[in-house]
Each structure stands twice: as C-alpha cells, then as structure tokens.
C-alpha cells in the first residue's frame, strides 16, 4: 500500500474513526497492532513471518540480556565483601562477555535476515561482473520496510545491552514497536526509548493535536501529489534518455530532483507523523529545514535526522571510542603529528559510517559511491576549515546575510550534485553527465520549448512552481519564527480551517494522480 493509494487513505480513515470512537484508552495500542499487522498482511502475508521473526529475536534476547545483567548485578551486590576491586573487574569482564554474546546473536540474526533478503542479488550481480558464466539470481522476497524495522530492533538490542532502556516483557507490545505501520513506508527510524511510551499510552483525542495532525497529513499529500509526483514525469524523461539531455539539462535534473525528493520524502514523513499525531502518538521529527543548511555536516544533521543519529550512535561513536581506535589514535598522534593523528580515527569511523549509509540506501554500487562521495566532501570541508577560518578573519564575511545566503546556496548545489548518483543510478554515467554540465553549453536550448517535451506542459510547470513557492514560504516561516506555520494558523481557527479546505481541494485538483500519471512510479521501479 502506497501512501497515495486509495486503499491506504480508506484504511487510515476507517482506522482513525474506529480508534477514537470505539476503543478504550488502554486498549488503543492493541488496535494499532492489529492495524499494523493487517497493513502487512494485505501487502503480502509472508511479510508477517519476517517481521515476526525479527521482532521475536530482539524480544527474546532483550529479556535474556536484561535478566542476566540484573542477576550479575545482584550477585555482585550480595557478595560485595568477597570481591576486591581486582576480582570485581574480572568478574565483570567475564560476565560482560555473556551479555555481549546475547547482543551479538540478536544482531547476527536480524542483520542477517536483512542482508540475505536485500543484498544477496546485489552480491551475485557484483560477482557476476568477474565471471564469464553468470550465476543466476535468487528469487527472495524482500519484506516491505525491512531496513526500517531491522534498524529499530537493532537499536533496541544495543540499548538493552547498554542498559539504557528497559526490556519490553509483552511480546505483542514489542511487535507493535517493530511494526507500527505508518513508519514502515518511508521511516523515520524510531528508538524504543522515544516511541514506546507514546505508542503504548497514546494521548487521548484532543482538538489541537488532531487538527494539527490532520493538516499535516494534507500538507504531506499536497507536497507529494502536487509537486513530487508531477516533477517525476519530467525527471523520468531526462534521466532515461541521458544522451539527449546533457549539459544544462543535467542542471535541470539537479533542480527537479532536489525539489522532487524533498517533497516526496518530507511529504511522506509529514503523512507518517501526521497520522501518528491524529492517533495520539508522537513520532520523532526527521527533517529540520535541510535546504537552509550552511554546510554539509549541518545538512546531514537536518536531513533524515533519525537515520543520521542512528548511524552516529550505533556505528560512529562505538567505533570511534573503541579501545582499538583509541590505541590507534594514540599511535597515530605519536607518529603522524598531533594535527593529522587526531583526525585519522575520526575519519576511519566516518568512512565506515558512510559506507554503511550508502549500502543501507539500496543494494547497488551507485549508492555505495554516493555514500563515499559524501564522506569525501565532509572530509574535505573538515580539512579546509582552517583555511576558511583564515579567509573569514581576513574579510569578515562570516555572519553577513549575503554570505549566509551564499553558504546555503553552495551547500544546496553540492548536495544536489551528489544526488545525481541516485538519479542516473550508474556511477560512470553520473560522472559523465555531471561533467557534461561544464563542456556542453546548451543553456539556450532550455528556453526554446524543449522543457515542454519532457511530459510536463506549461500548466504543470506553473502549478509546480506556485506549490514550491508555498512550500518555501512555509519553510521560511519556520526558519524565521522558530515554529511551524500550522501552529500559528491554529490560533486563528477559521483561517486554519480555510487553509485545510484549500489544501484538500488543491491536492484533489492539481495532484498528479490517476490516469495519465502512471509514470509517477519511476523512482521506485528502476531496479
């Protein structure tokens, strides 16, 4: 079920009505679980087995770990006198190994399922490039949202092992955390510590919360249907016939894709969080005005935030502060000098994070390269920082408004260029197309009507442009006032209602859905 499918909308409407009208407060989580499982069941009943196994693994090992840890703590406490600090350390170390083993088993099983389903064919394909007799692909089903829910259970397993969250003893409740359906389509990746309480004890129905959720859903659909699904048509033409559309067209691809991806992704997140909000569940934000970022690090702190923090907390930090790394850090500082030595370990961890990020995005080489390119850019900007500092000291541009605007524009263009990997889905082609921007000068061509041959007509461009201006103004409001425009609108109820109605009508009329818009699935169907 896609967000934009009619079935999904009916599903949500029925669920919300039943949920608020007929289900007592303390049983609401049960309905959410049933709805989530139904969501999966209708997509493909076999998915239930996968998500069930993943949830059960994390659930069981969490309880084992927690029980074991509390036992050894109790043992330590009870036999305080018999331990000196040395033997205490020893006892801790040996028992910690058992606890680590539980964690390792949970991770191996769950990440193993993810790897087996999602990456087997990628590996085979890669091997085949070296073989004369190609291996045949395996026919494996890839459960919907497996990347998202696997990451959620992995973070849970690690948190349990660290002792930062309490294990959930009710399997069904844990299954709900794993399978909460709005998140399975586009994320975000929630943490057990953030989501559990609100999921098991949702807020009761309340006008403000419900209205804000509802208008957020509408806003999400508006962005997705009116902008993203419309621009996709033009993008499809541009990307699928790269030989015809070089040079300035690549820039058009960059711009269209930046707008398309932003609207599609944030729109989807708005729908997810909006649905959760109308159900009284608070889901963590995933975006914070990423296109206003002044540098790439800031960008990644604002774009797909739940993924960014996941990689930071569960890969970057553990790697960086692991004893091996600390030793390496010491060594490199001694041998390579303080300045470089300090950075070596950080960069190694950073490299691993971006390699993993690339692979996580999809089983294809262009994602890997895309991830590593991000690493390169981050590293470069890090290395150039002293240079920047000198520059700023000399000219004093920093903090000036026009310079901020320049920084924002620079970051936007940089990130948009990196996204080309995702557009062309072929590493060589992406480099070729990017290069063509600099040696094929055909800007004039853009204005002789060739943009109207991409499958979008004048009306489409107008609608998309006006809608993008609206999106920009709403973002600008948040940037300047520090809160969402819808919260301000809610204080003037009639205006709020009017906006909601207009959003609904505009989406129904100007949305790129239904017959004549079948092309909208291209982004997803390329594999």
């Amino acid at each position: 079920m896609l967000f934009t499918s009619l079935q999904f909308i009916v599903f949500i409407a029925v669920l919300t009505a039943v949920y608020h009208l007929f289900v007592p407060q303390n049983e609401k989580w049960g309905l959410l679980l049933i709805a989530s499982l139904a969501f999966y069941f209708f997509a493909d009943p076999r998915y239930l087995i996968f998500i069930g196994v993943t949830a059960f693994t994390a659930y069981v090992f969490a309880i084992l770990t927690e029980d074991y840890n509390s036992k050894r703590k109790a043992y330590l406490k009870a036999n305080k006198e018999s331990f000196d600090s040395e033997s205490k350390k020893k006892y801790k170390a040996t028992t910690a190994r058992v606890s680590k083993l539980f964690l390792a088993l949970a991770l191996i099983i769950n990440l193993g399922i993810l790897a087996a389903t999602k990456y087997t064919n990628f590996v085979i394909d890669t091997i085949n490039t070296w073989r004369t007799e190609p291996l045949s692909f395996v026919n494996i089903i890839i459960p919907m949202g497996i990347s998202f829910y696997t990451f959620q259970t992995v973070s849970y397993s690690i948190d349990i092992s660290r002792g930062t969250v309490k294990a959930q003893r009710n399997f069904w409740k844990f299954l709900l955390f794993t399978s909460f359906f709005p998140q399975l389509v586009q994320g975000p990746i929630s943490r057990y510590g953030d989501l559990s309480e609100t999921l098991y004890n949702p807020k009761p129905l309340e006008l403000r919360n419900f209205s804000l959720g509802l208008i957020r859903i509408l806003w999400g659909y508006f962005k997705k249907l009116v902008i993203a699904d419309r621009l996709v048509i033009g993008l499809k033409t541009l990307v699928e016939t790269p030989d015809e559309y070089k040079g300035a067209y690549v820039f058009v691809v960059m711009m269209l894709y930046a707008a398309q991806l932003y609207c599609d992704f944030t729109g989807g997140i708005d729908i997810t969080i909006g649905i959760a909000q109308t159900l009284g569940v608070t889901v963590k934000e995933n975006f914070d005005l990423p296109y206003f970022s002044k540098n790439i690090k800031e960008y990644w702190n604002r774009w797909h935030m739940t993924m960014g923090t996941w990689f930071t907390d569960y890969i970057f930090y553990p790697l960086s502060v692991s004893p091996t790394m600390l030793k390496l850090s010491k060594w490199s500082r001694q041998h390579l000098g303080n300045a470089i030595g300090k950075r070596v370990t950080v960069y190694i961890s950073c490299f691993c994070v971006w390699l993993a990020t690339g692979i996580w995005h999809g089983a294809a080489w262009h994602f890997v390269v895309w991830g590593l390119m991000n690493f390169v850019v981050i590293m470069a900007s890090q290395e150039l920082e002293p240079l920047y500092a000198k520059f700023h000291n000399k000219f004093g541009f920093k903090g000036k408004k026009w310079y901020s605007a320049f920084e924002i524009l620079r970051t936007f263009l940089l990130m948009s260029s990196l996204k080309l990997f995702d557009c062309y889905r072929d590493v060589g082609l992406t480099f070729k197309m990017f290069g063509s921007m600099f040696y094929t000068f055909n800007i004039g061509k853009l204005f002789n009507g060739s943009l109207l041959e991409l499958g979008l007509n004048k009306g489409d461009y107008w609608v998309a442009s006006i809608a993008l201006v609206i999106v920009f103004l709403v973002s600008l409001y948040k940037k300047l006032k520090g809160r969402e425009a819808r919260e301000m609108l809610f204080e003037k109820l009639p205006l709020f209602v009017l906006c909601a109605v207009c959003l609904l009508l505009a989406t129904v009329v100007f949305g790129a859905y239904g017959t004549g818009f079948d092309a909208s699935q291209f982004i997803y169907n390329q594999f």
Binding site: V14, P143, S147, A363, I523
Partner: protein, 191 residues
C-alpha cells in the same frame, strides 16, 4: 461487551479494506522510500527480477515482411506505410465519436490496417490476400493444416473456422477450408 463491538467493527473494517485492496491496482507494489535518497525499490517487492527476463517480456509481436519491409504489429504505422510505397488503395473510417480512425491500405497481395492512438497511427492488422506471399514460418494460402501445425506448434487456439497463435501483443490466424489455408491474418492486440 465493548470488546465485542470493537472486534466486530474491526472485522468489518478489515473486510472493507480487503475489498478495497482487491479492487485497486495491485500492480503498484508497495514501495519503500528509504533513507536520504528516495529509493530502495527492492523493499516490498516479491523477489528480484532477472534483468534479462524483463527485457524479454517487453513488447513481443509477430512481424510480417512484405517486399523487404518489416511490418510489426502495434508498431508506428507512418514509416511502414511510407516504406511500402504508393501502390495501394486507401480507405479510412472514423469510429463513433472520433475515438480513432481505422485506416485500410490495400496492396497487391496484402491489406494493412492501422488504428489511431493519441494522434499517431499504429499497425492493427495485416491480411495476406494470395499465395505470392508467405509468413516468416513459410506458411501461405494453400498450405495444409498439418503444415501450419508443424510450423507454429500445437498450442494454437482452434476456432470454428481456423486456428490462432498468440505472440506477445499480437496473434496470427489461419482460416481453413477443406484442410487448406484460405486466409492468413496478423492482428495486433490493442491494450
């Protein structure tokens, strides 16, 4: 009591969604938009498709060659008609409410028909009129039923007066009289 109501409602809503699901377009597989980039198409798909298989299942169709010109069913008609030369008589018939135009080009030994879709013409059918022309498999008017079966196989669908073989979005039909082919027609399946 309350629980009962809830469960009944649930069942009802499930049934409703089940109905809604089955009536919808099933072919849009559930898709996951994953991380920072939009994609991750594979999630939610039922197994990876062999790329070769995809290419093959594209738009296969019967092709008839006349005087060196390949006439493929459902192919754009303009170039083919141009290549076939001027030796034809022409007939056109608008369908009700201008929903398209059936055009018929009659040559010495064949009749070519086209249909209109979105302002462009496509090959709708080719009819073989005499035994000076033959299909790619060597069947011509006057061939026997057995020869047809030998050339095209046994998986044809027999009708009251002939047999049809389907390939991709086209089919070829042979009409028999007294065990001999009296007419051969290629027809496009217009989706």
């Amino acid at each position: 009591m309350n629980k009962k109501i809830v469960s009944v409602l649930l069942m009802a809503s499930m049934a409703f969604t089940a109905v809604a699901c089955s009536s919808g377009d099933e072919d849009t597989a559930p898709v996951v938009l994953s991380g920072g980039q939009a994609t991750d198409a594979v999630e939610g798909s039922n197994g990876a498709q062999d790329p070769a298989e995809v290419a093959e299942s594209g738009s296969d169709a019967y092709v008839f060659t006349y005087n060196g010109t390949q006439i493929r069913m459902n192919a754009p008609a303009d170039d083919i008609i141009a290549a076939l030369g001027d030796g034809y008589t022409y007939f056109e018939a608008p369908s009700c409410a201008f929903e398209g135009m059936d055009k018929v080009y009659t040559y010495n030994s064949i009749v070519v028909r086209s249909y209109t879709r979105d302002g462009a013409d496509y090959i709708a059918a080719v009819e073989l009129k005499d035994d000076t022309v033959a299909t790619a498999e060597g069947i011509r008017i006057g061939s026997t039923e057995d020869e047809v079966r030998a050339a095209y196989g046994e998986d044809g669908v027999a009708g009251t007066s002939g047999i049809e073989y389907t390939l991709g979005d086209s089919f070829i039909s042979f009409i028999f009289e007294n065990g001999k082919v009296v007419a051969i027609t290629y027809t496009a399946i217009v989706g």
